[in-house]
Amino acid sequence: MRVKVDQPKCVASGQCVLAAPAVFDQDDDGIVRILVDRPEAAHHEDVKESVAVCPAAAIWVEEEE
């Protein structure tokens, strides 16, 4: 799984950080930052939850082999 974000879309709601704190963080203005773009399998569910709760469609994942 590869995690992608589109920072200009982010509205700094912090939902991703709450759902997957190991994968997402926010910069000083609250805008999303990726901590690990290829998270371990153990975090995949959390990442999917982040995608689902992000209000701004600023996060998505690309599946990899």
């Binding site: 879309k9 912090g14 209000p55 701004a56």
Partner: protein, 412 residues
């Protein structure tokens, strides 16, 4: 007669009126007619106070999709926008904050104030919030009961927190609570609504001038020195932004505390779960479930379509008003099993109580921490907390933009 944008062939049956009434004796459930609407025609027209016929959207997936759709506008000055009442309509013409703007203007302004609401910054406030909660409860417990929980606790907490964050002196709280109340009342006299709004803006404009001379570590000082001084914002725009944050920080969290307490006291088995646990996960889940179950923003999210948009087999035309009923969406059985049950152990994180899309509540991380501290402290410190009046005697805010109780007499 107000002319409405009616594009599809209309049936002779009159559209149901919106807002709809809750069932008597059932303070927590959304209006039964709203539920019928969702079960029958989840996308259908309703009739507003001014005779206009916006669309009502009631399914969770459709509400989310629409609120996240850039083809929809939150700008109340656009023709077709479904104004809540005459007061809100009048006010919309006098003031524009980022919640009533579309991108890119919305994003530009919102980003000026996102920093203090980042998760880590808000987490760092948790001890200070805990201290405020403890102090307020000490004072409350020192008084002979019964006390009004709204006045003694539910309102002062968010008020103290948002004042601190903005750099507004809390001793003025009577002044801004009075004006905020006018703004969240439905069907207020338009002139009174504008006067209240202007009074707040004037006050904040004065405060911004003070901050420019003597900045502190707070949002208003930041706006004054980094935005107004540089010409990025006019003093009035900064004051409008400040008044939005001040008002939004007050009524929402306060009502979640008071109404949440009524709900928990009416569900003793759930309250016992919470009281007996110190698991931060259960406490966080409690907050999400109460947000879902109560959805205190019960007047819907108001929008207007910019283009033709297809939703569930219905075409909303450009210029049609749209009301996304987040309260009934949060009771959608497609997403939440047995949705009318308050269940603190369920995963309610996908609720839309804070809205969805780019306008989703800016203050939600702060609201979450405040509510987590409250719900994990109040009932443990006062295990015998009880209503000092019957539920049927409480005055619920049926007439408010934000649902809750006007007073909450409690004993222990």
């Amino acid at each position: 007669m107000t002319e409405t944008v009616t594009t599809t062939a209309t049936t002779p049956t009159p559209h149901p009126e919106f807002p709809m009434a809750r069932a008597s004796g059932c303070p927590f459930d959304p209006p039964p007619a709203l539920r019928e609407q969702r079960n029958g025609e989840p996308v259908s027209r309703v009739r507003l106070w001014d005779g206009s016929n916006p669309w009502l959207i009631t399914r969770h997936d459709q509400v989310r999709a629409l609120l996240g759709d850039p083809r929809i506008s939150a700008d109340p000055t656009r023709p077709g926008y479904p104004h809540r009442d005459a007061g809100a309509k009048a006010r919309a013409e006098t003031r524009q904050t980022f919640i009533t703007m579309d991108d890119p203007g919305h994003a530009r302004l919102r980003r000026m104030v996102t920093a203090p609401f980042a998760i880590k910054k808000v987490e760092a406030m948790r001890p200070a919030i805990q201290k405020i909660v403890d102090d307020l409860l000490d004072t409350m417990l020192a008084a002979p009961g019964p006390v009004d929980l709204v006045e003694a606790f539910a309102l002062p907490l968010p008020s103290l927190v948002i004042c601190e964050l903005l750099g507004v002196p809390y001793d003025k709280h009577d002044f801004f609570q009075k004006h905020t109340k006018v703004l969240v009342r439905r069907n207020g006299d338009p002139q009174e609504v504008i006067a209240a709004s202007e009074a707040l803006i004037d006050y904040l404009q004065g405060l911004l001038a003070d901050k420019l001379a003597e900045p502190g570590d707070d949002i208003l000082s930041d706006l004054a020195t980094k935005r107004v001084a540089t010409g990025e914002l006019t003093a009035r725009e900064a004051a409008e932004m400040g008044s939005l944050l001040l008002a939004a920080g007050h009524e929402t969290t306060a009502n979640m505390i008071a109404l949440g307490t009524v709900a928990l006291l009416q569900h003793p088995d759930q309250l016992a779960l919470l009281r007996d646990s110190d698991d931060p996960k259960l406490i966080a889940a409690t907050v999400e479930e109460l947000l879902r179950y109560l959805t205190i923003v019960h007047s819907g999210r108001l929008r207007v379509a910019l283009e033709d948009i297809e939703v569930g087999g219905v075409t909303l035309r450009a210029g049609d008003g749209v009301i996304c009923a987040t309260d009934i969406a949060n009771r959608d059985p497609e997403l939440f099993a047995d949705p009318d049950r308050l269940d603190l152990t369920r995963d309610a994180r996908r609720h839309v109580a804070f809205g969805f899309g780019v306008h989703q509540c800016l203050g939600q991380p702060l609201a979450r921490v405040e509510l987590q501290v409250v719900y994990s402290t109040l009932y443990r410190r006062i295990p015998t907390l009880a209503l000092a009046a019957g539920v049927d005697e409480l005055r619920f805010k049926h007439d408010g933009v934000i649902y809750g109780v006007y007073e909450l007499p409690v004993t222990w």
